[in-house]
Symmetry: C2
Subunit: 318 residues, 2 copies
Amino acid sequence: MKAIIQQDTDNPSSLELTEVDTPTIKKGEVLIEVKAAGVNRADLLQAKGHYPPPEGASEVIGLEISGVIADAGDSDFEQGQEVAALLAGGGYAEYVAVPKGQVMRLPEGFSFEHAAAVVEVACTVWSNLVMEAGLKEGQTILIHGGGGGIGTFAIQVAKALGAKVAVTAGSKQKLDRCRELGADILINYKEQDFAEELKNQCDVILDIIGAKYLKQNLKALAKDGHLVTIGLQGGTKEDLNLGIVLAKRLTLQGTTLRSRGTQAKAEIVAATVDNIWPMLEDGRVKHSLHATFPLAQAADAHETLESGEVTGTLVLTV
Amino acid sequence: MKAIIQQDTDNPSSLELTEVDTPTIKKGEVLIEVKAAGVNRADLLQAKGHYPPPEGASEVIGLEISGVIADAGDSDFEQGQEVAALLAGGGYAEYVAVPKGQVMRLPEGFSFEHAAAVVEVACTVWSNLVMEAGLKEGQTILIHGGGGGIGTFAIQVAKALGAKVAVTAGSKQKLDRCRELGADILINYKEQDFAEELKNQCDVILDIIGAKYLKQNLKALAKDGHLVTIGLQGGTKEDLNLGIVLAKRLTLQGTTLRSRGTQAKAEIVAATVDNIWPMLEDGRVKHSLHATFPLAQAADAHETLESGEVTGTLVLTV
């Protein structure tokens, strides 16, 4: 089969379609004929050699796909069934083998292209906001990077849950977009100190920054507050004052979706389909495609995502 | 009524029996005639002025008692019923008013003296090991200060849950005691580096040290590991490497029992009675009294606890 493998990490744009062996399925896996593959920032990192696949995962780039079941293995799926899947890798390809717990139905009314683009963000947002941080109706959540792919999705899910939503972003344009999606408190981090604005108010913070925001996040958290860090765009090392952590009974958690085990991913996929798919189907959560590229033009898709001029998700079609 | 109030924090031993107003109960509270009051390290801190009571709590020292219901208020308890209670303060006294959710039955076969001494440690251990850190059968827990009051209790509860238990302590004598209670891995922190011995192995760490152990704790935690810090004997400030936190998907949590709200305490008390009382009643968890003192001799009890020569709990009798 044909697949995209990065063979020269010094040249991230050298992604080329290569002939590789079609994967064979192991116990508990299904084989999917890929119709569309979502493009994620983690793919850009992997193309640069900064985000190697977890042990045992495919060398092929790609964390989310849609397609049809080519071999149902020992699963309850049927050959030909239309599905989407969360992957540890292997999505930029004609076929991919996936643990059956990571395979899910398409949201009703969603095309292959659109479904492929929503899996990773939906699983990331549901697992972190609800399964880890326990966000509940009436609580206040602060979402950093409110204008980004995860941020825009998280705002809508948090509002659907009945939470009060604060966001940070770096431009009026992005903050206007956050307001349209339902955000209640808009903070331009270039002009305002979010910790001062939200001192002791945040029950949950969804953080993609890390070290640079750690002290401010601690200040912004309310008693029993929960900080979930899923990205380290602002570095890794910072002083921690455990006196504040104890006095406010805080929880600081770091996590990544991709590195999790098969069992954990299956639980996340099941909960995401149960909770987020209905939100997508009745329009409480909107998700937009920015553009589609043929699989062979993966390098162009990466350049477009890298450029930062993207307001929705990019998808490769196979 | 008579009660112990610290009026001179420069002289921790000046604790004297004073005449104060008998407390009146508010909605949702019961009045208990105190028979025995447990003595905790937090009481020593409060006597030195270092641990002021939470807002709205009694100025009277004392976090756990047993006694009989003097006024059941709007609760389902009955006047004269023998009970124990978890307090935000007010225990070193003839009467105390307590939110009804913090009042519990005595463990079967327990005297007033013994019951008064077990409330705080049992609630601390159950809430942190299970309700916060989610300790499960087959997991590995590291308990710092294994020879102390919380440590010896936590070892037994963790073993009763089917966990593998590692402990740190500073003497062979204390480690021998930990082994008798069931600890599987014994580490003398004066001679060994626990992080090296337990690298990537601990699903849960119960920590009373804080900053001084933070880096080692992160190293000792397994993937998805959970560090619960409930004391800061080793300071408050330390560098944190969030790269490790994300890569291992760690949770770092700080908490104190006393500062929690009424609802949270009621949930903890209910779960503790459901889970720990049976362990005390059938002997899976043993708990010993070191000595009893009359209420008027609270200062002597504090001096004895301060001396460090205590292998069980101290109780004041009223």
